[in-house]
């Protein structure tokens, strides 16, 4: 693999695309400099970015709910396509998929935005702190019913998903552990009438020490500590994050990542760096690209200007709406991205993107001139298009009478090649 291939790989998997010309610049600096800049942007002189929602001031008006909701999630897609710190944003997306908090359940945009800021601020920090913060985050307390759970009637929803989905995975805990966690986590309440402030109400909490994963716990701090210190935690998180970026990963590789992740005190930058380096070293399989990364990469490569509402509409029809994972298991996977509905929607979206790509865009020039290798390289496939797609592009541009550049660009974006990273 050449440096160009390696950088294109990192840009597809961890950055979700590059603007024209960036691949050349990064190739000169080299692969390890790129990984450094991704994992530690501050050291590379890339300034801290403010929240995509820093200047949002929503009026609490149900009539405006839909408009404001669209604006909220459109801002996120804009930020993803414009950020100079892409990794902290793709990792935040991973946590959005991991915790899977949905605005449809939370039903309060400022609270949802706080949650999204939280997973972005802590997403590349310390895993224990991230989980501790999420456990008493207003959005999560509403999402998995912590706010209605009391010592007298503990609600197990958060306790169960905390163990199964967020920290350890199935097979590493018992039903008794679920109950113990539920009891120890009681007492945290979202006060909707006080601007959705989170409060700890001692009389709703059951302080009786509970046996949990072989230790005694009586509050949220001890539950988070015990779970994060459990032997299964580093491997569970390392495996899931590695698969997010790399596809299938060998048990041996995950084991090594987990060991270093644990030794670092569950430091996520260590883990993410190991994952990216493993990927460059060949520990990776082809991945089916989800709709959000597909769309962000297409926008970056073409400079297309899509009206905000339409952008969310396209994502919805492809089956992945920011802010709305369909279940607590997160966004669906490969079978949904390959489903007929997503395939049809991808064709439509590709046509739309090509249509609103500026006439001056490199992508459109390359497509109009039949520079297929150049177009593939711009779309971060430096090895060129597949045989089938190449033949289809040639036939289309030879046979189509109207707007051949736009048609070829649409086809390239819709092609199966772009669905595989």
């Amino acid at each position: 693999m050449t440096t160009r291939d390696d950088i294109a790989f990192l840009a597809r998997r961890a950055v979700w695309g590059l603007a024209p010309g960036q691949l050349d610049v990064l190739e000169v600096a080299g692969t390890s400099a790129y990984i450094d800049a991704l994992v530690a942007p501050a050291a590379a002189g890339i300034p801290v970015e403010s929240s995509p929602w820093a200047d949002v001031d929503f009026v609490d008006d149900p009539e405006l709910g839909v408009e404001q909701g669209l604006e909220t999630f459109e801002r996120w897609t804009t930020h993803l396509s414009e950020t100079q710190r892409p990794l902290e944003n793709t990792v935040a997306w991973f946590w959005h998929d991991h915790f899977a908090v949905s605005v449809r359940v939370v039903q309060h945009l400022p609270t949802m935005i706080n949650h999204l800021d939280l997973i972005r601020d802590h997403g590349l920090g310390d895993f224990r702190e991230l989980v501790r913060s999420v456990s008493t985050d207003a959005a999560m307390l509403v999402f998995l019913d912590g706010t209605t759970s009391t010592g007298e009637a503990p609600n197990e929803n958060y306790g169960r998903e905390f163990l199964e989905l967020y920290t350890l995975g199935l097979g590493n805990y018992t039903e008794d552990d679920v109950r113990a966690a539920a009891v120890a986590l009681t007492g945290w309440v979202v006060r909707r009438r006080l601007d959705w402030e989170v409060q700890f109400i001692p009389r709703r909490h059951d302080p009786t020490p509970q046996s949990f994963l072989g230790e005694m716990v009586d509050d949220v701090d001890s539950v988070v500590d015990v779970a994060c210190s459990h032997a299964a935690c580093p491997g569970f998180i390392a495996g899931k994050l590695a698969r997010f970026f790399l596809g299938s990963v060998s048990d041996a590789a995950v084991g090594e990542m987990a060991r270093r992740f644990e030794a670092s005190g569950l430091g996520l930058p260590v883990l993410v760096r190991d994952i990216l380096e493993a990927g460059v070293a060949g520990e990776t399989t082809p991945q089916v690209v989800a709709p959000v990364p597909w769309l962000i990469a297409a926008i970056k490569a073409t400079g297309a200007v899509i009206e905000p509402r339409a952008r969310i509409g396209l994502l919805r029809s492809m089956g992945q709406v920011p802010g709305s994972p369909p279940s607590v298991g997160g966004f669906p996977g490969v079978s949904t991205w390959l489903a007929s509905s997503a395939t049809a929607a991808r064709f439509t979206a590709a046509n739309m993107i090509a249509h609103v790509t500026p006439d001056s865009a490199v992508a459109l020039t390359l497509a109009a001139d039949g520079e297929w290798d150049g177009l593939a390289d711009l779309l971060l496939r430096p090895q060129g298009f597949s045989m089938a797609t190449l033949a289809a592009l040639r036939d289309l541009s030879a046979g189509v009478s109207t707007r051949p550049g736009e048609a070829a660009l649409a086809l390239a974006l819709a092609s199966p090649d772009l669905l595989i990273a």
């Binding site: 007929s340 289309l396 189509v400």
Partner: protein
Amino acid sequence: MSNKHLSRRTFLGAAGATAGVATAGGGVWAALVRESAEQSVLDGIGISSTTTTTTTHAGGTAMPYSDRVLVVLEMAGGNDAINTLVPASGLYQDARRDLELPAEQLITLRGTDYRMHPGLAPLADFWNAGSMAAVAGVGLPGQSRSHFKAMDAWWAGTAGTPSQTGWLGRWLDATLDGINDPLRAIALGGGSRALVGEHALATVVRNPTDFSLRTFPNMDADALIDAFLATAEPLATTTELAAAQEAIPATLEAVELLASVSGDGTQEAGFGAGARRGGESAADLLDTVAGIIDLGIGTRVMAVGVSGFDTHADQLTRHQDLLADVGSGLAAFFDRLAADGNLDNVMVVTTSEFGRRIQENGSLGTDHGTGGLQFLFGSGVNGGKVVGELDLANPVQGDLPVLLDTRSVYSVALDWLGGPTDEILDGPHDRLGLVA
């Protein structure tokens, strides 16, 4: 400024103008659809071996297996069995102090100790006619309280470690004969994992009301769609890329099919507050299913998924809405089947990955449980009865005991399709007297 700024209205207008692209285009996929339609016509008049595989069912008419359709309605999230089929027991009132359904609203089920949730009232006629049955206290060996583990097991239809294939996918594999037609099995809205086979293809449409290929009016739509189809061949050697390629012709066929059943597909779903959790209603999805059945293109299995049954909080209202959608949706579906002359060809089976805890949880909801509930509908069902029991008196860790294996229900369903059944479900499993 050279940037073109596209307004949503322009785009939707364009979409409206070209929504007929797939139907008017008449490409290769249309020929494929016609081919499969002709195939099923031949099957229907019994030219092939179908004459030897007919049975005589309750009505006395011989119905070839090839005319029979199975619809599996997945109620995802874990439907609360006890508030759906309410046991006549004081233990019910004890467990459900806040969630108890008022007795006067419940639907009496003749000859049983149960009454039904008012949302299912439109189905009472089917019960009384003996074409609706309930299976109570049902699950799989080692039934899990985890959504994901339980769903995996229910889709797989295997005990122990779930297989990579689904129970319906294995049936599609076993009956694969000649052309691998992806329209033989269609999932709408969800439940598609049960259709995963090793070889057989299936069509998966998450959102049928927004399913079309759109181009702009000034573009050569036919050329673009033909070129899109051309990217599918030759198949790449990489598995993932090949899968992305194979999805394209299957999609074009399915677009064609659904366009002919349900109009132009430009309808927009709601967003944000007030929108249904999990997408389209059972009523809408089932209406599309009825349309596909009436096309008679050889679709044998349809999975329909509706979600939102994970009622940890505010259960009374939510469950009412969900069951009313299912109840009225199914009743309308059967009405349409009857009007089209297809009613006797269809069996419907409901699934849900688990039942909920017997005791309510203090948040006006219920937590994950184990023992669950299924319904079966159709002329092939020996109905009007509850098989099994929602046994409140003998809870296991606070849950309804799992007394019956859902592979029994699956067996009835696969028998309806003509099997083979036992090898697919690691049987034989007791048919529980549910076959008419």
